[in-house]
């Protein structure tokens, strides 16, 4: 069954057709039983839409999920390059027995493994000591697969569900479906995104309205554009805006019921408030020393990702719906040992700090953390020097933590050498369907009509991994 609002009530879309879904869902279609009540729902929501037409509703206003959500928001820790699963979260004793035997021959895990946490999940020992301390929070997905083991296809497919076409990104679908709880921040923020392998496509909105695209932070533009008034003094800008709003209200009086004009008035006030609230969110100088230490901000090794993780927490507190952080450089064809160690050194304490901090603030229970890259790494020695692995699409590991997922849990498995998923397989559509499910969205019902058909993030696939639901 599809929840396509446009098909149900095509004549009630006076402001703009595409916004009908938003307005109707803003009125909460989660509260009604679907199916039997569908026709009733359709007529009542038609009325609601007519009501809503009179009133401006921001396209990013929070919307109720389709059913009870386990997670309210997502923090996606994207590891660009394809981190090794074999040397980290996917213990392969049989592979270890084979040792190193030359180019294109199996290469044993380059780090020792040890059981971690109460449930004794096998993980690399000493590679990420801080994260290992949170083993009981982690839900390891050992059977993840992607279609193509090349960076561009893998990354774009991870972010948008399609490697061949320009499609909306996961974050923009989520923001389209749920809006944002943050009044004065964008609903989808990506910090230090990569500019290649799809670049902006990975946080773009494609055919969804542009307002759902990710806002890039940490690049030259400085995040939220035009947030600072550099040309007017003291209260002059407030006086200026008062004058503007007086004009706007006059125009509205001539054309009453114009939701767009109400929107201009409301969004102008919001913009004015954002000028003080946004910099406050981004100014981390008010964080106490113990929090700085928790994220490793005063240590050169962890400073960058620590700052990003701390920002993620602050954005999560503000109600931002989808936050993505990127750690680049996981493509270890060479220098597997030192490379992996170096990358983990930079992110281990920050990620552990983020988990602890969210937990102590009561945010972890409704924040879904997702960690992983576009694919995993081959069982084989890539260059024959015993210190590198090639790309592998057919089986690798991502992990989740937080809202709605089982902690200290392992789902899925690869074969005995780690070369391909054999159990609990999750392709990109399955991964996306599961994330949407945790957010209270049915991946088959979250649709958008474009070019004559209802598009979905999961195209024609997607199975929710119910085994991991807590």
């Amino acid at each position: 069954m599809k929840l396509n609002a446009r098909r149900l009530c095509p004549d009630t879309l006076p402001i703009h057709g595409r916004r009908a879904f938003l307005q109707q869902s803003a009125n909460g279609f989660g509260s009604l039983a679907l199916g039997a009540l569908l026709s009733q729902w359709a007529s009542s929501s038609a009325l609601q839409a007519a009501e809503a037409a009179k009133k401006y509703v921001s396209p990013t206003a929070p919307k109720a999920p389709q059913f009870t959500a386990r997670a309210k928001r997502v923090i996606f820790l994207f590891m660009e390059g394809g981190p090794s699963h074999i040397d980290t979260f996917d213990w392969k004793p049989e592979l270890a027995k084979l040792g190193a035997s030359g180019k294109s021959r199996p290469l044993a895990p380059v780090f020792p493994f040890r059981p971690q946490g109460k449930n004794g999940l096998m993980m690399a020992d000493g590679l990420f000591p801080h994260l290992a301390g949170h083993a009981d929070e982690l839900c390891l997905l050992n059977g993840v697969t992607t279609k193509t083991p090349s960076h561009h296809q893998g990354i774009v497919s991870l972010h948008t569900g399609s490697e061949n076409f320009v499609r909306p990104s996961l974050g923009s679908w989520v923001t389209y479906g749920l809006g944002t709880e943050s009044e004065d921040l964008p609903g989808f923020i990506t910090i230090d995104p990569i500019s290649h392998n799809g670049g902006a496509q990975n946080y773009g909105s494609a055919f969804l309205p542009a307002t759902f695209q990710g806002t890039r932070l940490g690049s030259g533009s400085g995040g939220v554009p035009n947030i600072r008034n550099n040309h007017m003094l003291g209260d002059d800008q407030r006086r200026q805006l008062d004058f503007v709003q007086q004009m706007n209200r006059k125009l509205l009086a001539q054309t009453p019921g114009q939701a767009e004009l109400e929107g201009v008035i409301e969004s102008s006030e919001l913009a004015f408030r954002m000028q003080s609230s946004v910099p406050q969110t981004f100014d981390t100088s008010d964080e106490p020393q113990h929090i700085r230490d928790l994220y490793g901000i005063d240590d050169g090794t962890t400073e960058r990702f620590g700052q990003a993780c701390l920002m993620a927490r602050r954005l999560a507190e503000k109600g931002v719906r989808f936050i993505q952080l990127t750690s680049a450089g996981w493509d270890h064809h060479n220098n597997l040992r030192s490379g992996l160690q170096g990358r983990w050194d930079a992110i281990d304490r920050p990620i552990a700090g983020l988990i602890s901090d969210l937990k102590q603030r009561g945010l972890l229970k409704d924040t879904l953390i997702l960690w992983g890259g576009e694919f995993g790494r081959s069982t084989a020695d890539d260059k024959g020097d015993g210190d590198g692995r090639g790309h592998q699409a057919k089986g690798f590991t991502m992990w989740m933590a937080g809202a709605g997922v089982k902690g200290g849990f392992r789902h899925g498995a690869t074969d005995e050498l780690g070369g391909a998923a054999v159990e609990g397989k999750m392709n990109m559509h399955d991964l996306h369907a599961t994330i949407l499910h945790l957010l209270g969205l049915d991946h088959e019902a979250l649709t958008y009509r474009y070019a004559g058909r209802d598009f979905r993030l999961t195209e024609t696939g997607g199975v929710v991994a119910r085994e991991i639901l807590a």
Binding site: S104, I191, I227, R239, Q240, L270, P279, H333, G339
Partner: protein, 765 residues
């Protein structure tokens, strides 16, 4: 505004050294798929050698790459380089059925047994497929109101609902509406006054519409609407995103076509098959070749999984832009399976695909497996245009350092010499476009998989019920001309309906069909089907003239109504579904920016005639494709380069469509970043300062005159007495003490910016 953490984050990024390279072809060499592809490639290469060497596209451009003085210019036939045989055939094409030797299937099973029989529907009741015939014009009670039959169709429905149409808008509002709708620019205060001073309002308005239709600004405004539909961009997008060095020639062709009022049926022929049309003079030939740029502008993955994937993706883009753009049909849905909703089968798709499969597309780029010595960017892979004897085609302009920079390798040579911000040379006689390849029907691909081949339907053998058949395609040609004739025919029920609806949408805020790119069963039905058919039939009868159509619509009483909504009619039809009043319409990004430039006095109306992009593709700063003009430049927005994935924030903020998408219906969102743009953006503030200085520089005006001038220039109307008082209160409340700027300029800038930030500036009343 960067916080220290962001700065340190940036430095951190720079410090990371990624010592890694992907294996050849982007696939793990251990992957069986990789091995399979390698083996297959070997077999294909062997077959190609057997078949006579295959064909390689031109490696270097001969004549076009040297200044015209040295080239054998002046020829009227295009010196396009094209292969002698189709790249996809493995034996000489012996028949239109393409029964050459089959390419081998990859050594693994991809396709499931076919479940997709020829499930072509035999009937259709979709409204848009019904024959177009002009409906009778309804009679109305209020016979004095209508100015045109358009009004009668609308008034009949208004009267049925007992809604009275609004009176005519005030002259100032109507004047501003007409200027922005036709030229995308505001009237100057002199133009506005001239109109307001006329006593014979009706005649003055008709003259105004004619004057604006004849303005060169008209094409710049209306071309942009078409460029949205045809996914115009100055770079190829996807992973490598190499620049299109000559996309702008197509853009200018569209602008010129709107200005010349090229009949729309001819416009279709030129864009799909301009290279196939007869021409008696070089100028015509040139124009016709430029039209085919339409087919070359799509996104492409220059590092594809396979050659066949690359070719079929391009064919798919060409089918999509052709069918959605001209027919409002989503035929691309049938690439992998029969269309779910419309009577279009996979067989129809591949019958169309054969036409583009037999077409050679020249984009100025080469893909990874076929890039030649020029690299990804290579001007030798362009259509060669005939030179114009009178020199009106422009002259050759060398690139950086006076060098002949035409290719990625030219670019890299200068780069390794230490040069940065390298400019390409501009050749007046090349363009993107298409030409015939050796004809070859396109085999159906099971599930769209490139190597899962089935039978090949004859090119052009489209059997969509209720649509006419394509004219027969000669065995020696690709068939684009026949495709274009089929679309541009009066017998095709879709073409005129789709186009008049697009035009209507831009003048009234939404289409009579609210899904302008989808006239299939998943699109919406027209709200006024008789009016749509009336307009479509009249459009055909009027020689497919866009200007006549626009003139009819703009002279209607309906277009002239006021937008006031404090009327009894408005309360009965709140959503204005019946068009009883004008809808408030927000200006798009282009007219907003152009109006800011106009107010500042910096607007440059000249058309830049050079290559607009730099870079070669990829990710690094100097290699990434980028435009040579940014938002601050003085040119009209239509002339700024459109880099896919690289548009500055303002474009998205004001709902500019993703240039990878076909989008005839832009969104209108209202969000805080728009307000922040008007409050704080440096470009806005600069324009407002300049606009204030201009107003202050006017001689012999007192302050009240100056406020009046500001209102006229920015809002297209006089301020009321109340507003003058509010302005005085506002301006005197400001406190410029402590500003480095002159206090008077500070106050006037604040006022100008306030007017710019108001909803009225952004909206057409």
């Amino acid at each position: 505004m960067l916080r220290p953490w962001i700065i340190s984050a940036l430095l951190g990024t720079a410090a990371i050294v990624v010592a890694a390279e992907p294996p050849a072809g982007g696939l793990d060499p251990n992957d069986p798929l990789f091995k399979a592809l390698q083996e297959m490639k070997g077999e294909i290469d062997a077959l190609k050698r057997e078949a006579g060497g295959g064909m390689s596209p031109p490696k270097r451009a001969p004549a076009g790459m040297t200044p015209p003085s040295m080239s054998p210019g002046g020829k009227t036939s295009p010196a396009m380089q094209r292969p002698s045989t189709n790249k996809r055939t493995t034996s000489p094409p012996t028949s239109a059925m393409g029964q050459g030797r089959e390419l081998p299937s990859p050594p693994r099973s991809i396709a499931a047994p076919t479940l997709l029989g020829p499930a072509v529907r035999t009937t259709t009741d979709i409204w848009s497929f019904q024959r177009l015939k002009p409906p009778p014009v309804p009679t109305v009670k209020n016979g004095g109101w209508p100015r045109d039959d358009v009004d009668r169709f609308l008034l009949a429905k208004l009267e049925a609902a007992d809604v009275a149409p609004n009176p005519e808008a005030d002259a100032a509002a109507l004047c501003r509406r007409a200027y922005f709708d036709l030229t995308g620019l505001p009237p100057s205060e002199a133009e506005l006054s001239a109109f307001l001073d006329r006593r014979d309002r009706g005649a003055a308005y008709a003259e105004l519409v004619d004057k604006l239709l004849a303005s060169p600004r008209f094409g710049e405004r209306w071309a942009r609407h078409w460029l949205d539909v045809v996914r115009y961009a100055d770079s190829v997008g996807r992973s490598w995103n190499a620049p299109f060095t000559y996309a702008w020639r197509y853009r200018d062709y569209v602008i010129d076509s709107y200005n010349r009022d090229t009949p729309f049926d001819k416009f279709i022929l030129e864009q799909l098959a301009g290279d196939q049309l007869p021409a008696t003079d070089p100028e015509t030939r040139r124009r016709q070749l430029l039209g085919t740029g339409l087919l070359a502008l799509g996104t492409a993955e220059l590092r594809p999984e396979s050659e066949e994937q690359f070719i079929l993706d391009r064919v798919d883009d060409q089918i999509d832009v052709t069918t959605r753009g001209f027919l409002g049909l989503t035929i691309s849905c049938a690439r992998c399976h029969d269309h779910k909703y419309d009577p279009v089968s996979m067989r129809d798709y591949y019958a169309l695909a054969g036409i583009f499969y037999s077409t050679y597309t020249l984009t100025g780029q080469g893909w990874q497996g076929d890039s030649g010595p020029g690299g990804y960017v290579d001007a030798s892979r362009l259509v060669r245009l005939p030179n114009l004897p009178d020199g009106s085609a422009g002259s050759y302009m060398p690139g950086s350092e006076g060098a002949d920079v035409h290719t990625m390798s030219d670019y890299q040579r200068l780069w390794s010499g230490g040069l940065r911000n390298i400019r390409y040379a501009t050749d007046p006689n090349v363009a993107m476009g298409a030409t015939d390849d050796a004809p070859l029907d396109c085999p159906i691909r099971e599930n769209g998989e490139p190597y899962a081949r089935r039978e090949a339907p004859p090119r052009g053998d489209v059997r969509i019920p209720s649509l006419p058949k394509l004219p027969p395609i000669p065995p020696s040609s690709a068939g684009r001309l026949q495709l274009a004739q089929w679309i541009a025919s009066k017998q095709n029920p879709l073409t005129a309906r789709v186009y008049v609806n697009r035009v209507w949408r831009h003048l009234f805020g939404r289409g009579l069909v609210r899904t302008p790119d989808d006239f299939g069963s998943t699109g919406e039905a027209p709200t006024h089907p008789e009016l749509l058919d009336h307009l479509a039939a009249k459009f055909q009868a009027d020689g497919w003239s866009t200007k006549k159509l626009i003139r009819t619509l703009m002279l209607s009483a309906t277009y002239r109504t006021s937008s006031a909504a404090d009327t009894s009619g408005a309360s009965k039809d709140e959503a204005n579904a019946l068009y009883g009043r004008a809808s408030l319409r927000r200006l798009e990004w282009e007219p907003l920016r152009d109006a800011l430039l106009a107010a500042s006095g910096r607007l440059e109306l000249e058309r830049p005639q050079i290559v607009l992009v730099s870079g070669i593709g990829g990710k690094a700063g100097q290699s990434a494709a980028r435009g040579i003009f940014d938002v601050e430049s003085p040119y009209r927005t239509v002339y700024l380069p459109i880099i896919r994935g690289g548009l500055s924030e303002e474009y998205g903020t004001f709902d500019f469509p993703d240039p990878a998408q076909i989008k005839g219906d832009r969104e209108t969102t209202t969000v805080a970043p728009q307000a922040l743009f008007f409050l704080n953006d440096e470009f806005v503030v600069d324009c407002c300062r300049d606009a204030a200085e201009r107003i202050l520089a006017e001689p012999n005006l007192d302050d009240v005159d100056r406020v009046r001038l500001a209102y006229l220039r920015l809002l297209g109307r006089q301020p009321t007495a109340d507003e003058l008082a509010s302005v005085r209160d506002f301006v005197t409340s400001l406190d410029p003490q402590g500003s480095a700027r002159d206090p008077i300029a500070y106050r006037w800038t604040a006022l100008v910016q306030a007017l710019v930030a108001s909803a009225e500036f952004r909206y057409l009343r």
